[in-house]
Amino acid sequence: MPRLSLGRRAALLSLGGLAAASIATPARARGSVTAAIYPGAWDEAFRTHVVPALKRAHNVDLAMEPLFAVDQVNKVQAARGAPPFDVFVLDPGPRITAIERGLCEPFDARQIPNRAQVPERMIDQWGIGVSVQVVGIAYNPRKLPVPKGWADLFREPFVSRLGITGFQTTFGTVSLIEIAKVFGGSETNVEPAFVELKKVLPRIAAVGAPAAMPGLFQQGQCDVMYTNTQNVATLKERGVDIAFAIPETGAPAFLTTMHLVKGTREAANAYRYIDTVVSAGVQEALSKPPFNFIPVNQAVPLGADMPMRSLDEMANFVSHDWSKINPLRSDWIQRFNREMAR
């Protein structure tokens, strides 16, 4: 009897061991990585394409935290060495801030096998470009004619249907700078934008938080706003009447980059994630409707409805010197919120 029971125990043990082994080795994910992501179009696009691609290619689970660039930088700084996520996705302004404040790990491009397909000027010792964003005017073509430029937003029929947002996002900042320029201001002088906004404020349809703007447009609360091409594409896919207009003074374009957060414990998976994002497969999927991301991977052709035919055309778009804008920006943010208050 003892022998039998021993045998039974051994059998159970080995069965259990087999089961444990089968769970442990091939099926178990290699781990996970948490990435900050812009709310809205980026969040949806990455959920649709990057999450499954990363799982397939590297067996890594991707968790995402929707935050605008400025919020990401402040959140990491607030966490003081215990980063709430592993990868930043940043626009040029917050990118400089994050590097200056020492919130980025040095970036080792050799960990990104797909880097060969990304233009060299988009890679540096701090990160890599993942997409180009183009900012302009979104409007409802069934209710409004095509706006020609920024100044049109301050005239009827546009102004009473206009939705605005402040300086806390890159698209808001560059739009307000371009508005200021049209009325005699410059990259460092947004005074004219404030003056003009003050004049029309009682007539403006909506003043909202940046994340609220697509919802306000969808609900018909406003019919014209400044935003980037991805948000337009995502709303259009949902059946919203929306079209994108490039202002006559040119549309701002900027590179969006990814960076490792200082103190990340998932550096290897973070590199796998970034490599997946810039891979030809994912870049092509993201460049298709409804997302219409402008790809940085040169193996991916730029689609017919993209605002540019090739990445070289970026030179024809409006660019900004963020080292000059950054020191002024926090005052602009506060001033906007104060002056737009009822």
Partner: protein, 295 residues
């Protein structure tokens, strides 16, 4: 506060350390409160006394900045006023419902209670976005108003204080109704019958008997509604929009967008102090009323 919980004291059983026993049971919660509520609160207070954003030198600069600027006083006033308006609207709508509930048969009492509690069972985000759909320019209310020919232009409800108060009234209603119903259900029906048999009209009975007896419940409910609506950050920012600035939005903007912690801490302390001051007044009114009834 006026929500007193009658602690059942076991009269017969008198163990040796009877005095310490119940207190020892509160130790875990007490310790948690000390570590995770009192300590952070003191830290918040301390941060507000840093003079610069980098938090290197101490000083009263943030307080001077806050108190010396009429804009911030207006934000404080608007926040308290929003709370007052929400309290007024919930009481005006909730009180008649509570009176109906008092006389309703048990089945309808249960149904009414369920309907009253319903808003608590949905997430705040869902509730808030539902109100966008209802109040929007092309929303349910405007479709009705335009369809009935009551107005030629869509009404502006979203991103106005009126719209925000309407939404908050629905969102905060359960916080008024639950304490109010608890108190109103305990009113002795004989007192009301006595009032009627002594010749008082129903209105007089309402104002001299029922309302004074339900005051403790009303004040407890007002207290909760006021505290909750003045700090309802999501509803305020999503339904109110960018042109209505209240203290919670100011705190968030300073802490998370501008990254000025000392000033954010100052605004947060101001929010707490001003809301607590009003709550103290409400609680006092409730206690005075309860005291007068008690004898």
């Amino acid at each position: 506060m006026s929500i007193a919980v009658a602690a059942p004291v076991a009269a017969g059983a008198a163990p040796l350390r009877r005095d310490i026993g119940p207190w020892a049971l509160t130790l875990p919660l007490g310790a948690a409160y000390l570590a995770f509520f009192v300590a952070p609160l003191l830290m918040l207070l301390a941060v507000s006394f840093y003079a610069d954003e980098r938090m290197t030198t101490l000083g009263l600069r943030q307080w001077e900045r806050f108190l010396g600027d009429p804009f911030h006083w207006k934000v404080v006033a608007d926040t308290l006023l929003l709370g007052a308006k929400t309290v007024a609207a919930t009481v005006l709508l909730g009180l008649p419902l509570a009176l109906v509930w008092r006389t309703a048969p048990p089945f309808w009492q249960r149904m009414l209670l369920f309907i009253v509690v319903l808003p608590l069972l949905t997430s705040v985000v869902v509730r808030t976005f539902a109100w966008i759909v209802i109040l929007g320019r092309e929303g349910v209310v405007n479709a009705l108003v335009l369809g009935l020919g009551l107005a030629s232009e869509p009404l502006r409800l979203l991103q106005t204080e009126l719209g925000l108060v309407i939404a908050l009234t629905q969102i905060e209603m359960p916080l008024l109704m639950l304490p109010l119903l608890a108190v109103i259900s305990r009113i002795d029906p004989n007192v009301i019958d006595a009032s009627a048999s002594l010749g008082a009209s129903p209105w007089r009975t309402l104002f001299t008997v029922i309302l004074p007896l339900s005051l403790p419940g009303i004040s407890a409910g007002c207290l909760l509604v006021f505290a909750s609506s003045t700090t309802a950050f999501i509803s305020q920012s999503v339904i109110g929009g960018g042109r209505l600035v209240y203290l919670p939005a100011l705190v968030w903007q300073q802490a998370m967008v501008v990254s000025d912690w000392p000033f954010a801490a100052t605004a947060a302390v101001m929010l707490m102090v001003s809301v607590m001051a009003v709550i103290a007044v409400i609680a006092l009114v409730g206690r005075v009323a309860a005291g007068r009834i008690g004898g």
